[in-house]
Each structure stands twice: as C-alpha cells, then as structure tokens.
C-alpha cells in the first residue's frame, strides 16, 4: 500500500472512530445539535432590540442587505468552522490522552499530524451536518431566501477558508503537546478571531486597525464572500482578490501550523512532556 493511501485510510479510521465514540454518548450528541441555537438567538434578539425589527435601512445602505436575521445567520454559520479548528482539531491529541490511548496510537507507523487531520475530517463533517440542520430550521422559521446562482463559488470560498483554518487547528494541536493549559491559547485565538471577523456586522464598522487585522483572517474573506453570493452583500474587495488572499492565507497558515506542530512534537518527545499531563 502506498504511503498516501495508508495515511488517508488512517485519517478516515480516525474520523469513523470519533463518530462511533460520539454516538455512544447520545444525549451529548443531541446537545451538540441544539446548542448552536442557544448561542445564535442572542444575536437575533440584540439585533431586534437595536433595530426595532428585523429589517434595517441603515444596514442596507452600508451592505446592500436589509435583513438582519439573514445577514447575521450567514456569519454565525461560517464561524462554526472556527470552533472546528480551535477546539475540535486543537483538542484532538489531548482527547486521546483523556482516553488513555495517546501512547498506543503514537507508536503506530503514521505521522502524528494524521490524527489531527482525522479529527479535522470528522469535525468538518460534524459541523457540516449541524450547519445543514441549522440552515433548514432557520430558513424555515424565518422564511429566508438565498440566491443559489454562485453556489460553486461559495463552495470554493468555504473550502479555501477551511484549509486556512486547518492551519490554525494543527497549530493549536501543537500547543497541546507542549503546554498543559493549551486552552488558554485556543480560547484567546477563537475569541480574538470571533471579535475581529465581521460575523454580525460589516467590516466597515470595525475600527480601522481591526479592519486591517481582519484582512489576515480567512474567516473574514469566507464570510464576506459567502454573504455576497447568498445575500448580495456589496463587496469592498474584488472577488479575484478574495480568492487570491484566501490562497495566500491558507499557504501561510498551513505552513506555520505544520512547522509549529512538528517543532512541538519534537520538543515534547525531547522533554518527555506528554507523560506529565
């Protein structure tokens, strides 16, 4: 069997194993589908309170979209993938440690990033499923209508954004090897990215320095690109530039993420850190 086929099979085995384990905790499995709604509604309620209703002429004047619910929902949906990177991928190795299986899998003849990649596949599928469920429910309840003409470009943008986020995820996974309290990094990154990314607001309302910071995040381009195609939001950046920057970001983030992961893996094996946690 070729090396690549072996690694792909291992990645899928990791994915399937996680599904099987998750399925054994049924109440938690159901909770994961319902919890996103709990976090989503405060956005809506806040919007309703400020606007006095669902539609806003001011929002339309700066974005081209007047429906606050549709506008916020797209941003929120896309940001679900940030959790995939910061938490699901990031915690993948620490989870194995909780199971007690980390050393058993670390002596298998596959590189250690394979386990993180397996978790990336699993959590992307998981998040995708939750998104479909959320999208169905929210579009039905609020009678949302999305444009479907640019659906392939939407998929392209989401895939590019995801690849960039995988770079972030593998970086956080690296931190779990070297740091006992890795979640501090994970929490800080996910909070900062959530604030800077224009989830429920247009990029233009952020202070100038945050607007500049937002341009380094794949989630910014992911959200404005997807909102443009599904809702018709006005683009402040041209589409080719969005795709170009997403490609640059994914190359940089993946490179940095892998480099840090490999460094931390070596550091952990040198210091014997994993046995300590």
């Amino acid at each position: 069997m070729s090396k690549i086929a072996h690694y792909l099979r291992a990645i899928n085995a990791e994915n399937m194993k996680e599904w099987r384990i998750e399925w054994k905790y049924k109440p938690d499995f159901i909770r994961q589908f319902l919890e996103p709604f709990v976090y989503l509604f405060p956005y809506f309620l806040y919007g309703y309170a400020l606007l006095g209703g669902r539609y806003s002429s001011h929002l339309k004047s700066i974005t081209g979209v007047d429906d606050m619910v549709a506008y916020t929902f797209i941003g929120y949906l896309i940001m679900g993938f940030l959790n995939t990177a910061c938490w699901a991928m990031g915690s993948s190795l620490r989870k194995e440690q909780w199971y007690g299986t980390l050393e058993a899998i670390f002596v298998a003849p596959v590189p250690r990033w394979v386990y993180v990649a397996g978790m990336a596949l699993h959590s992307t599928c998981h998040q995708g499923l939750i998104m479909v469920f959320q999208a169905f429910l929210i579009t039905t309840v609020f009678a949302l209508v999305f444009k479907t003409t640019g659906i392939f470009l939407v998929l392209l943008i989401v895939v590019l954004m995801l690849m960039g986020l995988y770079g972030l995820g593998i970086m956080v996974a690296g931190f779990t090897i070297g740091m006992k309290q890795w979640w501090v990094i994970s929490e800080a990154l996910s909070t900062l990215i959530t604030v800077v990314t224009p989830i429920a607001y247009p990029l233009a309302v952020l202070p100038i320095f945050l607007q500049k910071a937002a341009l380094f995040l794949p989630t910014t381009y992911g959200i404005i690109g997807v909102r443009h195609f599904l809702l018709g939001e006005k683009l402040a950046i041209s589409l080719p530039l969005i795709i170009f920057r997403l490609i640059v970001i994914l190359v940089v983030w993946l490179t940095v993420g892998f480099a840090l992961f490999i460094f931390m893996d070596r550091y952990g094996r040198k210091k014997g850190i994993l046995s300590l946690y």
């Binding site: 291992a10 085995a13 007690g100 058993a104 298998a108 003849p109 596959v110 590189p111 014997g272």
Partner: protein, 326 residues
C-alpha cells in the same frame, strides 16, 4: 545474524542541567538477538519505562543510538514503529466505548494491514485470545484480564516481529497474570518466534520467562546475563531469611561481618529480612543480638539465592522501592 535491538551508550535525562535533574537512562548499552526473550529488571524509577519509550520512538534520547530491526529510531521512526508492537501494563490503551472488533479494526487501519486481510487477522486474534464471544461487547464491560488480552491482540494486529512489553501483568489477578506469562513465553516467543523485550519488577516472572536479563538500577545496567549464570555468580553465598513481626528499616541495620547484601520487605503484615552471607550461622547470632529487642522473630531459614537476591547483591537496591517508574 544481526541483533533485532541494539542500544548503544544511551543517555536520557529529564530537567537536564537544572535543579532536580533526573538521569533516567545513564549510559546504557545492550543487544537483543532475533527471537530472544530479554528481560529488563529493576525497581520503580530504575529507568525501564524511559528506555522502552526511547526504543519505541515516544522519547528522543539525549545521546547514544538505538537500532531496531536495522532501522535507526531517530532517522527512521516510522519504519521502526512498523516493526514493533508496544504492550504496556494497565488497561487504558484501548477505546472503552468501542467493542473489541471496532478497536482492532481501527488499529489495523493505523498499521496499514491490507484491507482484505483485516477480517481474517481479527478473527484469528480474537480466537487466539479467547475473546470471540466478546467481540461485540464494549471494552468497558470486559474484566481487567480480558482487557489485557485485547491489548495483546491490539499489539499483534500487524504481526510485528519485535515486541516491547512493559510490566504486562501489573494489576492482573493471578489467573490472568499466569495466562499472560504463558502466552508471552510459549505462544509469542517460542511458537511465533517474536523478539521480546520485557520489563518487570517481578523477579519470578523474569526468572521463568527470560533467556537473558539485565539488572537496571538508577538508569544504569549493573549486570546482564542468563538467570542461571547470574544466580551461579553468587553460588558460594546463601540467603538467611528471618520472618518477623514489627517494623524495621534497612537504614537502621549496622554493618555486620559476613553480611553481604540486605533486603527488607513487608508482606501480609510480616517483615522479611533477607541477607546474603557466606556464613549464615555466624551472621544469625549477630543479627539476633541486633533485632531481638526491636521485632518478634517468627521463623528463620537458610535458602539458595533467588534472582531477586542476586539483584540486591549486585545493585545494593531493593526491587520493591516506592515511587513511579521513570
């Protein structure tokens, strides 16, 4: 025929150059021949587990080299891992929420077992470990012994030629411990021809199983030979064993003439004082003088040295020291 495992001048320190530096492996060298069952013996903290972790690529040594099946652990870690199976004591090397079949399928994929051989291999291993009827039971519902049997099946899923077995019977009841020992010796080593590195602090286990043993203490190997030759090395010595009631510390013992080694252990409420000596009669009177007001003597006997006595004699350490293994 080249050796399967070659460890050369290996060093592994923790907190290197800082206060509390631990010299877990301190200049260790040895070779294990193909098909050999080699025992690494020592008390907790001797460095056995650290050594196993270095060989299995879980730790990077500070200096020295390790070759496994001809591959360098630093340069070709993936090739080394393909050649080895690592079995540790305790139960947490399996996914408890999954069934034995699900666990074995997962590890078969990690080890790249060809898809068309997976079912046959798993069937064989479950039959071998007498777990066929538990194939679809969650691991969490299996007994400790069954979990250890399944761990053995997991280690064998890719049929590795070399096995690293770290304290395999720890925490098992006598029945399963004996099963595991027999399986290691007769099935894995003698029938399947596996090269096995076994660590243990049970001397009887090493004595019964191993072709050669190395005594490891404070990160160093103090002696290495067959169990028979090691015992013969102190053949002119005898063991004076006093069973008594009451507490007695090794540090309290004075340096007595004819006292060559000393080991004090506690078992079932009794204190056992085992002394290596070239003259048990003379030593006995001196020891009785010393202990008669401290403990109540229950019985006295003179025996031939066991492997544990050889260990105590050669290293000056006891196998039942406390603390976690380094």
């Amino acid at each position: 025929m080249p050796a399967d495992i070659v460890v050369d001048a290996l060093y592994k320190f923790f907190k290197k150059g800082r206060p509390g530096e631990v010299r877990a492996v301190d200049g260790v060298s040895f070779q294990i021949e193909k098909g050999e069952l080699f025992g690494l013996l020592g008390p907790n903290g001797a460095g056995k587990t650290t050594l196993i972790k270095c060989i299995s690529t879980l730790l990077i040594p500070d200096a020295g080299s390790i070759r496994v099946a001809g591959f360098d652990v630093n340069k070709d870690p993936l090739k080394v891992r393909q050649q080895i199976g690592v079995l540790t004591g305790g139960e947490r090397s399996l996914y408890w929420k999954l069934t034995p079949i699900e666990n074995l399928r997962y590890f078969a994929a990690l080890y790249g077992v060809p898809r068309n051989q997976v079912k046959e291999r798993i069937d064989y291993l479950l039959s071998l470990m007498e777990l066929k009827d538990k194939a679809h039971t969650r691991v969490e519902k299996l007994s400790s012994g069954m979990k250890q049997k399944l761990s053995i099946a997991r280690v064998l899923v890719h049929n590795p030629p070399i096995l690293l077995v770290d304290e395999p019977t720890i925490g098992l009841d006598p029945y399963f411990a004996q099963f595991v020992r027999n399986f290691i010796k007769h099935e894995l080593n003698q029938r399947l021809g596996k090269t096995i590195l076994l660590t243990t602090h049970y001397m009887d286990e090493a004595d019964a199983l191993c072709d050669r043993v190395a005594f490891m203490n404070q990160g160093r190997i103090d002696a290495l030979d067959t169990p028979t030759r090691l015992k013969r090395s102190i053949i002119k010595k005898e063991i004076l064993e006093i069973k008594c009631l009451g507490e007695l510390q090794k540090e309290e013992f004075p340096a007595l003439e004819n006292l060559l080694s000393l080991n004090i252990t506690r078992l079932d409420g009794f204190t056992y004082i085992r002394m290596g000596t070239d003259n048990p009669e003379r030593l006995l009177s001196r020891v009785i003088d010393f202990i008669q007001h401290r403990v109540k003597v229950y019985s006295v006997q003179v025996t031939s040295p066991s492997l544990e006595d050889v260990f105590v004699y050669l290293t000056g350490a006891s196998l039942r020291q406390g603390g976690d293994d380094a």
